[in-house]
C-alpha cells in the first residue's frame, strides 16, 4: 500500500509542469555553474603558481648584505573544493608578508577581472542548492496536502484504511525521490565536467572524501526542505494561503535569517573593525616605544652624557695643557702637528679608552632596556589582541548561533567549511601566516639583533653571515582536513538532522488534526 502511495506521488509530480521546470533549471544551472567555477579555479591556480614562481625568481633570495629587515612572502593556494562553494574565497587575502617586528601583514593583490560577475555573484554548487533546489523543493510540496483537500481527493484517500502518518510519509518520500532525479542527473553531469579539467581529479584523496560528505549533507538538506514544504501545506487549508506562507518562509529562511543574523549580532555586541584595531595596535606600540625612549633619556642617557662631558672636559684640559707646554717649548701648534704628534696620540688613545669604558658600561644597560621594551610591547600587543579576538569570537558565535535558526545557514556553514572557504578560514589563514612568520623568525629574524647605540640602532647577526645569501622557505599552507572540518561543523550536521525530524513531526502533528473537508 505504501509503495502504491509513493508511486502515485512520484507519477503525479513527474507529469506536472513544476517537474519540467525544475529539471530544466537544474540541468542548466548546476553543470554550467560547475564549469565556470572550474575555469575560475584553474585561473586562480595558474595565477597562484605564476606569482609564486615570479616571487621565487626575483625575491626568493634577497640581495646581500642582509639588513635584517627583509620580508619573506607567503602565498595562499586556492582550495580545490572552492569550486563547490566559493564562500569567503573572493575576500580572503592571498599573500602574507612576514616582518622583523613579528607583525605580519596580509594583502590581497586585487585586479577586478570581471565586474559583472562580482556584481551579481557566482552560481556555484552551494548557491544552486541554497536558492534553486530549495525553492524547487518548496514549490514541489507547498500544496501537497492543501491542494488535495481543495480537489477533494484527500477525503477519498483518508476514507481508505491507511493511517494518516503513512499518507504523509509517502508524500514526503515521493516528492523527495522525484526531486532527487533531476538533481542527481545534473550533479553527475557536473562531476563529469569537473573531472574533465586537467588540474582537478575527483579520485584524489583530498577531493573525494569531502565531496562525499558534501553530497550526503546536501541530500539531508533537500530532505529538510521537502519536509518543510509538506509542513507548510499542513498549516494552511488552501493553496493560496500555502503560497503566501511559502513566500514568507522561504524569504525568511534563505534570505532573512542568514543575512540578518550577522547584522543583529553586530548591533547587539559591537566590536570595532579590524583596520581600526590594527591602528590601535600600532598606537600602543608607538606609545610604549616613546615611553622607553623617555626612560632611556632620563636614566641612562643623562648619566652617560654627564660622564662623557666630564671626560670631554678632562680631555680638553689635558690637551690644552699639552699645547701650552709645547708652545712654551717654542713649537708651533697647528692641526697637522696635533694630528701627528706622538704625545697627542697617546692622550687621544687614553681618552678613547675612557670613552670605550663608558660605552661598555652603558651599552648593556641600553640593550637591557631595549629588550625590556620589546618584551613589554609583545605582551601588551598579545593582551589586546587576545581581548580583541575574544570579543570578535563572542560576536561571531552570536551571529553563527542566531543564523542556525535556519537550516539553510547550517547547510552553508557545513559545505563552505568542508570546501576550505568557510567562516573558520580567515582564522586558519592567520594561523598559517603566524606559523610562516615563526619559521622565518627561527631561521632569520631571531638571529639578527638590534642595539641602541649612540648612532641609533645597530645590527648584529649571529649564526650566519650577513653577506651570505639566504633563501626563504615557501609557506606551507594547510587547509583544515576533513576530520577537523567535520569536528567543527558537527553541530550543524546534527541540527540539519534535527530539522528533518522536527519538520516531519510538525507536519505529522498538524496532519493528524487536519480538517480534510
Amino acid at each position: 500500500m505504501f509503495r502504491t502511495l509513493v508511486g502515485k506521488e512520484i507519477a503525479e509530480t513527474m507529469l506536472g509542469l513544476r517537474f519540467a521546470i525544475a529539471t530544466l533549471l537544474c540541468m542548466v544551472l548546476i553543470p554550467l555553474g560547475m564549469y565556470v567555477s572550474r575555469k575560475d579555479y584553474e585561473h586562480r591556480l595558474a595565477s597562484y603558481q605564476g606569482e609564486l614562481q615570479t616571487y621565487k625568481e626575483r625575491f626568493g633570495t634577497p640581495p646581500t648584505p642582509l639588513t635584517g629587515g627583509e620580508e619573506a612572502q607567503g602565498f595562499r593556494p586556492p582550495s580545490v573544493l572552492s569550486i563547490f562553494a566559493s564562500g569567503l574565497d573572493p575576500f580572503m587575502p592571498d599573500k602574507v608578508f612576514t616582518s622583523q617586528s613579528g607583525l605580519f601583514r596580509t594583502v590581497k593583490e586585487s585586479g577586478i577581472d570581471n565586474p559583472q560577475s562580482l556584481l551579481f555573484g557566482k552560481v556555484d554548487f552551494l548557491f544552486n542548492v541554497m536558492f534553486i533546489i530549495s525553492l524547487a523543493a518548496l514549490i514541489f510540496t507547498f500544496n501537497s496536502i492543501s491542494g488535495e483537500r481543495e480537489k477533494g481527493t484527500l477525503r477519498l484517500m483518508i476514507a481508505h484504511s491507511i493511517p494518516r502518518s503513512r499518507i504523509l510519509l509517502s508524500k514526503i518520500v515521493g516528492k523527495y525521490i522525484v526531486l532527487l532525479v533531476p538533481f542527481m542527473i545534473s550533479v553527475f553531469i557536473a562531476l563529469l565536467v569537473l573531472d574533465a579539467s586537467p588540474v582537478v581529479s575527483i579520485g584524489s584523496p583530498e577531493v573525494w572524501p569531502p565531496l562525499l560528505v558534501i553530497l550526503m549533507v546536501t541530500l539531508l538538506f533537500i530532505f529538510s526542505m521537502v519536509s518543510l514544504g509538506v509542513c507548510i501545506s499542513t498549516f494552511t487549508s488552501h493553496s493560496m494561503g500555502s503560497i503566501v506562507l511559502l513566500f514568507f518562509v522561504w524569504a525568511m529562511f534563505i534570505i532573512g535569517v542568514p543575512r540578518m543574523s550577522p547584522m543583529i549580532a553586530e548591533s547587539i555586541y559591537p566590536v570595532e573593525s579590524g583596520s581600526v584595531f590594527s591602528f590601535r595596535k600600532r598606537m600602543v606600540r608607538d606609545d610604549i616605544e616613546k615611553q622607553f625612549e623617555q626612560v632611556k633619556k632620563e636614566t641612562i642617557d643623562s648619566k652617560w652624557d654627564k660622564e662623557r662631558d666630564i671626560v670631554q672636559e678632562m680631555q680638553l684640559k689635558a690637551s690644552n695643557e699639552l699645547a701650552n707646554r709645547m708652545k712654551a717649548l717654542g713649537r708651533e701648534v697647528s692641526f697637522e702637528v696635533v694630528k701627528e704628534d706622538p704625545d697627542f696620540r697617546k692622550l687621544r688613545k687614553k681618552f678613547n679608552q675612557k670613552y670605550q669604558e663608558l660605552r661598555d658600561k652603558y651599552e648593556p644597560q641600553v640593550e637591557h632596556l631595549f629588550n625590556q621594551c620589546q618584551r613589554r610591547i609583545a605582551s601588551e600587543l598579545n593582551r589586546i589582541e587576545q581581548d580583541y579576538r575574544n570579543r570578535r569570537n563572542i560576536q561571531f558565535s552570536i551571529a553563527t548561533n542566531l543564523a542556525r535558526i535556519s537550516p539553510v545557514s547550517c547547510y552553508a556553514y557545513i559545505v563552505s567549511g568542508l570546501s576550505g572557504t568557510g567562516v573558520a578560514e580567515p582564522d586558519n589563514f592567520v594561523r598559517n601566516a603566524r606559523m610562516f612568520q615563526e619559521d622565518i623568525n627561527q631561521i632569520f629574524y631571531d638571529k639578527v639583533f638590534h642595539l641602541f647605540g649612540q648612532q641609533g640602532r645597530q645590527r648584529r647577526a649571529e649564526g650566519f653571515n650577513v653577506s651570505d645569501s639566504l633563501s626563504f622557505p615557501d609557506m606551507r599552507y594547510r587547509f583544515l582536513n576533513l576530520t577537523e572540518a567535520v569536528q567543527m561543523h558537527w553541530p550543524d550536521i546534527l541540527l540539519l538532522c534535527l530539522f528533518d525530524v522536527l519538520f516531519c513531526t510538525l507536519a505529522l502533528m498538524r496532519f493528524n488534526r487536519y480538517d480534510v473537508r
Partner: protein, 494 residues
C-alpha cells in the same frame, strides 16, 4: 460626452479602489509589509554602520600616511593613495567589497593596486549583505509578483472576472485598474519602510541626505526603483494573463522570477566568459612586467656595450668602468662621453617601454571591453540586471568603477611623476646599481608628495552610462503591459 468621461473616470476610480482594498486586506499584504519594514530599515542601518566603519578606516589610513610621508621624498619613495568609500554605497554595495582600496605609484609607471584585507565579519561575507538594492531585487520584486500572479487567473477561478466583464467596462480599463491598484498597494509598505530607512540614514553623523552629492542621486535611485516596481507589477499581471488557474500562475511566476532575478544576471557573465575568454588580470600583469623586464634587460645590455666602447676609445683603465666617479683623467673623459651618448638611448628606451605597455594595455582593455559588453547586453534581457546596473552605477559601485579606479590611479601616478619622479634623475651603473641626483635645486627633504583627490563619476556621467538601462526599464514596463493587454483581450473568462 463630458458626462461619459466623468462616468468613466468614476468607474476607473471605483475599480482601482476595489483593487487596492482587495490587495490590502489580503494576507500577502501583511507579510510583504512585515518583510519590507523589517528588512529595508535594518539593511540601511547596517549599511550605514558599515559605511561609517569604512570611512573611519579610510580616514585613519589617509591621515597616518600623510603625516608620515606627506612631505619629503627619498629616491625610492613610492607615493601611495587610498580610495575613499562612496557615500551612496550604503544603497548598493555592488563591487565595493572587491575593489582595491590602495594604490602605490611606481617610478616605472606600473602602479600597483592592493587591498588591505582583514576579514572582520566572516558570516556576513558568506551570506552577503542586505543592502537596499538587494531588498528591492529579491524581496520587493518577489512581493510584486506574489501580489499580482493570480489577479486574472484567480478571479477567473472564483468567477468574479465574468461579473466585471459583464459590466460596460472595457478590458483595457480593467487592466489599468489592476496595474494601478496593485502598484499603489505595493508602494505603501515600500514607501513607509524607505522613509524609516532614510530617517535612520540621516541620523548618522557622517552622512547627510541633503548634501548635494546625496539627494540628487537618491532621487534618481528612487525614481528608477518605482519604474522597476512598475515593471515587476506588470510582469506579474502578464503571467496571470498567460495562465488559466492559480497553480500554473504561481509555478510560472516562480520560474520567471528565478530566471530573471537569479539566472540571467549571474549566468550572462559566465556565458560571456565562455564565448570570449580573456586572460585574468594577474596573468596580464605578469605579461606586462615580463615585457618591461625584457626591454629593461636590452637597455642594460646596450648601456654596458656603450660604456665599454667609450672606455676602450679613451683607453681608460678597467677599474674606472664600474664606478660613476672615475679617478683617472681618461676615465672622467670616457664617463662624460658615455653619459652624453647614453641620455638619448635611455630616452628612446623609455619611449619604447611606454609605447609597448600602452599597446598591450589598449589591447587588453579592448578585449575585456568586448567581453564585458557581451555580458552586459546578454544580461539586459532581464529588467533586474538593468536595474542593478543603474543603481550601482549611481552609487559609485557599478561595473565601471574598476575603470574609474584605474583612471584615478593613472591620474595620481602622472601627478606624482611630475612632482617627484621626474625631479629625481637616476644614473644607472653597471651591475644593476644606481645613483640618484636632484637637479635644479630640488630639495628632497621639503618636497611635498601630491595629495590624491579621488573622484567618483557625477550624476550626469552616471546617467550617461545608465541611460540605456533606464530606457530599457521603461521599455520592459511598456512591453509587459502591452503583452498583458493583448492576452487579456483574448482571455477566456469562463
Amino acid at each position: 460626452m463630458i458626462l461619459r468621461c466623468i462616468q468613466e473616470s468614476l468607474m476607473l476610480k471605483t475599480l482601482i479602489k476595489k483593487e487596492i482594498t482587495a490587495a490590502i486586506f489580503d494576507l500577502r499584504f501583511v507579510i510583504a509589509t512585515l518583510l519590507c519594514i523589517v528588512l529595508i530599515p535594518l539593511g540601511m542601518y547596517v549599511g550605514r554602520k558599515d559605511y561609517e566603519h569604512r570611512l573611519a578606516a579610510y580616514q585613519i589610513k589617509h591621515q597616518e600616511y600623510r603625516q608620515r610621508h606627506g612631505k619629503g621624498v627619498e629616491p625610492y619613495t613610492e607615493a601611495q593613495a587610498f580610495r575613499p568609500p562612496s557615500v551612496m554605497s550604503i544603497f548598493a554595495s555592488g563591487v565595493d567589497p572587491f575593489m582595491p582600496d590602495k594604490f602605490t605609484t611606481a617610478r616605472s609607471g606600473l602602479f600597483r593596486t592592493t587591498k588591505e584585507s582583514i576579514i572582520d565579519n566572516p558570516s556576513s561575507l558568506l551570506f552577503g549583505k542586505v543592502d537596499f538594492i538587494f531588498s528591492v531585487v529579491f524581496i520587493v520584486s518577489l512581493a510584486a509578483l506574489i501580489f499580482t500572479f493570480n489577479s486574472f487567473s484567480g478571479e477567473r477561478e472564483r468567477g468574479t472576472l465574468r461579473l466585471i466583464i459583464a459590466n460596460s467596462v472595457p478590458r483595457s480599463r480593467i487592466l489599468l485598474a489592476k496595474v494601478v491598484g496593485n502598484y499603489v498597494a505595493l508602494s505603501i509598505p515600500f514607501i513607509i519602510s524607505i522613509l524609516v530607512a532614510l530617517l535612520i540614514l540621516d541620523a548618522s553623523p557622517d552622512v547627510s541626505i541633503i548634501s548635494s552629492s546625496v539627494w540628487l542621486s537618491l532621487l534618481v535611485i528612487m525614481g528608477v526603483t518605482f519604474l522597476f516596481m512598475l515593471c515587476m507589477v506588470s510582469l506579474g499581471l502578464c503571467i496571470s494573463a498567460f495562465t488559466r488557474n492559480s497553480m500554473d500562475s504561481i509555478v510560472l511566476a516562480f520560474f520567471v522570477w528565478a530566471i530573471l532575478a537569479i539566472c540571467i544576471p549571474k549566468v550572462s557573465p559566465m556565458v560571456a566568459d565562455v564565448l570570449y575568454p580573456v586572460e585574468g588580470a594577474n596573468v596580464f600583469d605578469t605579461n606586462k612586467r615580463l615585457i618591461a623586464d625584457d626591454i629593461d634587460y636590452e637597455l642594460v645590455e646596450e648601456m654596458e656595450e656603450l660604456r665599454e666602447k667609450c672606455f676602450e676609445e679613451f683607453g681608460a683603465p678597467e677599474s674606472d668602468m664600474n664606478t660613476s666617479h672615475p679617478r683617472t683623467e681618461l676615465g672622467l673623459k670616457a664617463n662624460a662621453m658615455y653619459e652624453q651618448e647614453f641620455a638619448p638611448i635611455a630616452e628612446r628606451y623609455q619611449k619604447r617601454l611606454a609605447a609597448a605597455l600602452r599597446r598591450l594595455e589598449q589591447d587588453y582593455s579592448r578585449r575585456t571591453n568586448v567581453r564585458s559588453s557581451i555580458a552586459m547586453n546578454l544580461s539586459r534581457i532581464s529588467p533586474v540586471s538593468s536595474y542593478t546596473y543603474i543603481v550601482s552605477e549611481l552609487s559609485g559601485t557599478g561595473v565601471t568603477e574598476p575603470d574609474n579606479f584605474t583612471q584615478n590611479a593613472q591620474r595620481y601616478q602622472d601627478q606624482v611623476k611630475q612632482a617627484v619622479y621626474d625631479k629625481i634623475v637616476v644614473k644607472r651603473l653597471r651591475g644593476g646599481g644606481g645613483r640618484y641626483e636632484y637637479p635644479n635645486g630640488f630639495d628632497p627633504g621639503d618636497a611635498p608628495v601630491p595629495e590624491m583627490t579621488y573622484t567618483y563619476p557625477n550624476l550626469a556621467q552616471a546617467l550617461q552610462a545608465g541611460r540605456l538601462d533606464i530606457v530599457l526599464l521603461g521599455l520592459f514596463a511598456v512591453l509587459f503591459f502591452a503583452l498583458t493587454f493583448m492576452m487579456l483581450n483574448k482571455y477566456d473568462v469562463r
